[in-house]
């Protein structure tokens, strides 16, 4: 009786200070030799789960700290495996499944976790290999049409444990193309910790080339993103095209049949690699980005825009620094979301995106993604499941939420030095922060490439004669660069004259400038909906007078909009 008690008490604990090494029978076993037939065995029940959820990382040479690919190895680590599995800590998966389940989610169900628990409780019987279920069919191999490479090998900096480096890859998109599949192939195995890949549109190539040239050796130092702080306007990252992220265990991504990411001719690729040199001998790396590219237009275009909060104010010492912003859909079509990729730095605690109902509608906010415990080391892009509709109808919005813990006891250790609190704002550096969530959505292919710049712009622009400001500001379907040009050459141009008329609409200006820049749609419709009664018509009248007087002609012409 007493012995039985001991076993029960000791079961969840861990052998912390003894050696295993031989030893005979177990006097503490409650039921002597009459062990009942095990209900779960390694070969039949446990190994398939381990193969499915663990072995992408826990194999010899993998990123996991030990291999779990044999019975003996799993038994050896069982005292760690059980708490890690039961706590939901392994397999690692950051988004909260109660908010949303994504494609390729790594997760053990509650029942599957119980299999581990039961197996350990039954003293880890091996069972008969013959009872193993047939292995699941191997996923179809990823075949690339193009491979983008670092121009040279890079030897990570051995003086720092964490080396963050950006590389402009050797591939240039000669023609308008569509990316339909992608796969990151790390060069120096366990050194490569995570990879983020961005398309650089032609107008930004010079900026990235400049950053690359400014530093010796292959690539350049970068942490938060590939656009160096010194060269960027604060939102430099916004012009890039998200082309996916990779962490250990991530699978190749193939777009849904008939969908592709549009990459304009002249674009390049910049890749950020985080090398972790902890205990590893530095080794030369040449991580590759494998792509499946087609020049045939797909039925659906996948486009990304970043929802972003630039006005970060993260106070020294404060544990809660919540930031929220809503991006409403002022387009006339619905947004069909297909992928989400959150990004923060080291003080980030939580990031989430919710669908907010149209003004006046009595629905609840709907959770689209929630990463309740942000971890910089586990950044991925998450693909919306095929059977999941994430639709943002006109008038509905996306609410981005970021929270930061800047208290003294949540300061990161950066290259071995423990940081102390200070006020933190937006920036690309390790000590700066970001609140950024790339949203991928799909739109039907219209037969012509999406407009870039204003010259090949939407039909409405051609109809906006004589620099008609109202027409310009309600024109939909403008390319990102053109939207900014339109805002600068109308609202910006008229600012000095119209300051008094702008002032009562200051808050909605903020909201609509950002949401127009990011989501697109009609700036006019946004202002009409968001501004206090009557304030926008007054501001707009003023802008129209200035534009009609020809004051802004030079600026409009520079955008490619002629009278």
């Amino acid at each position: 009786m007493k012995q039985y008690h001991l076993v029960l008490l000791a079961f969840p604990s861990i052998a912390l200070s003894a050696c295993d090494g031989g030893g005979g029978g177990d006097p503490l076993r409650p039921d002597g030799g009459s062990t009942p037939e095990p209900t779960v065995t390694y070969h039949r029940d446990v190994a398939p789960l381990v193969a499915r959820e663990c072995l992408s990382c826990h194999v010899e040479g993998g990123i996991g700290p030990f291999a779990l690919d044999t019975y003996a190895r799993l038994v050896e680590q069982s005292e760690f495996v059980l708490p890690a599995v039961m706590a939901g800590y392994m397999p690692p998966w950051m988004p909260d499944p109660d908010c949303r389940v994504f494609e390729h989610q790594r997760q053990l169900s509650a029942a599957e976790r119980q299999v581990f628990e039961q197996w350990v409780a039954e003293d880890m019987p091996e069972g008969d290999p013959a009872t193993a279920p047939p292995p699941p069919p191997a996923p179809p191999a990823f075949t690339a049409t193009h491979v983008a490479r670092m121009t040279q090998e890079y030897l990570p900096d051995a003086r720092v444990p964490d080396d963050y480096r950006c590389f402009l890859l050797d591939h240039t998109f000669e023609r308008d193309s569509f990316l339909v599949g992608r796969n990151v192939v790390p060069g120096a195995g366990a050194l490569v910790h995570h990879v983020l890949v961005y398309g650089v549109p032609p107008e930004m190539v010079a900026t990235i080339e400049g950053a690359d040239a400014a530093e010796d050796g292959p690539g350049y130092t970068c942490f938060g993103g590939p656009v160096p702080t010194a060269m960027e306007t604060r939102g430099g990252a916004l012009g890039l095209v998200g082309m996916g992220g990779w962490v250990p265990g991530a699978l190749p991504v193939v777009e849904r049949e008939g969908r592709g990411v549009y990459i304009p001719a002249g674009s390049r690729i910049v890749m950020q690699v985080h090398y972790n040199l902890l205990g590893n001998e530095p080794a030369a790396d040449r991580t590759e980005y494998h792509m499946r590219i087609t020049e045939d237009a797909p039925a659906q275009l996948a486009t990304t825009f970043p929802t972003v909060i630039l006005d970060l104010n993260i106070a020294a010492g404060r544990a809660e620094n919540p930031h929220r912003a809503v991006f409403r859909n002022y387009r006339s079509d619905a947004l069909n979301l297909t992928g989400l990729m959150p990004h923060m730095h080291l003080l980030g605690r939580q990031i989430s995106l919710h669908r907010v109902p149209a003004a006046g509608a009595a629905e609840d906010h709907e959770c689209l993604i929630d990463v309740p415990r942000w971890s910089f080391g586990w950044q991925e892009s998450y693909a919306v499941r095929r059977d999941d509709a994430m639709t943002i109808a006109p008038g509905e919005g996306l609410e981005l939420f970021c929270n930061y813990d800047n208290s003294p006891t949540n300061q990161p250790v950066i290259n071995g030095t423990r940081v102390e609190p200070r006020d933190v704002t937006w920036g690309e550096g390790t000590l700066d922060e970001m609140c950024l969530l790339y949203v991928q959505h799909e739109t039907p292919w219209t037969g012509t490439p999406p407009a870039r710049g204003c010259d090949a712009a939407a039909d409405c622009l051609a109809g906006c004669t004589s620099g008609d400001a109202e027409c310009l500001l309600s024109c939909e379907g403008l390319a990102g660069g053109c939207r900014i040009c339109v805002m600068e050459s109308t609202l910006g141009c008229a600012r000095d004259t119209c300051l008094a008329a702008y002032a009562p609409a200051a808050a909605c200006f903020q909201t609509c400038l950002l949401s127009f820049a990011v989501v697109g749609g009609s700036f006019d419709r946004c202002m009409a909906a968001e501004c206090p009664e009557g304030t926008w018509p007054r501001a707009r009248d003023c802008v129209e007078r200035v534009v009609e007087a020809g004051t802004c002609d030079a600026r409009l012409t520079a955008c490619g909009i002629s009278r």
Binding site: F11, L16, G23, D123, G279, V413
Partner: protein, 402 residues
Amino acid sequence: MRHLALTLGLVALAGPARAHGPAPVALEVLAHDGRAPLALRTSVGLAVARGDGTYAYVCPARWDGNELALAAGARDGRDLLVHSAGAAYLSRDGGCTFAPLTDGSLYVMAAASTGQGFLLVAEDASASGPRRSRLFEVSDGVLEELPLALPGAVDGALGIPGGWLVAGHAPVGFVAGPDGVLATFETSASWITPRALDAGDLWLRVAGADGVILARVGAGEVELTAPSARLVGGPIRLDGRWLALLDGALHAFEDGAWHLEGELPWTCLQSYEGRHFACGLEALWELAPGAPVPAAVAAFSFSQLAPPDACGEPATRAACGREWAHFGGEAGWLDAPPATRPGEPRGATPGSGDGCAASSTPPRGSLALVVALAAFASARSRRAMQRASRVATRGPARRCSS
């Protein structure tokens, strides 16, 4: 040359690892007995000397699981105070168990060791409006409020021989000690902490919009000393000079400014009761006078870190074991017993601390001892022993369980 030697030393110390987190690094000596550090804070939790040259891993699960918690240690290394997310926890048994020291009504911002006891700086958790600090003395595990009026909220505290210093930035910059306010000054800084007091110089770390700068408080005035940096270590006073790490490079203070002395693989500079330490990856170095850079001798290395002792509730022990695997698995600590001397690799010392012999074929006698010791360990370890004999085909059957 020294740089080269140190770098080589580091490479030799680093074990094989596969990583998904930052490298473990020693951050601070919490207690020292004149021969070796008794307790240290590291980036993965605390390490407490076991008396045989090895250090027990004091895992974050014993407080709230936050390995980034801050800590202060009393002189004998038995009393350890940890604070995390506004709550303070006190251990009176060398880190084996921790008990909450504060309830939810206080939000702890800082703590410092005052030799035998602690100074605790807290704010009322429910307070709104400007921050207001309260100071407490912790002695013999009892919290007692100090009646001291401060000109502002405290950002940080520093234990100094026979007392303590606190500093803050809002609404004015100030430094205060047990006898009252020492200085107040106008500042636009966002965080100010006291760093060092020696030879009549009091140093503050001042974080502002343009980075961090060290400030010297002299007679009635505060002098900001260029250059500013992103990361600052120290300063310490060694051999009659003030030394600091500015963005990882060693600087010496001369003629009112910091001058570069050399690039060293150091990540912190600290003084503890007249001794001086530099942190580095995998090891902590004790510094001795030397020119142009101080001489360094390893005082602690992660190879000395042993698995956590079986302390506390079963659930805590399980979580603690997972943390050991989490950090130790990455750093390659699971496979071999700890070393008994700093700088020695793991598995080099026969019969070291956790009762595990290092060689794979230990002499009979020591195996008997191991088995005898194991008899006192938990029933779980017996299960492990039994298992190990069953899976003996997997190579070296002996493994230090962790």
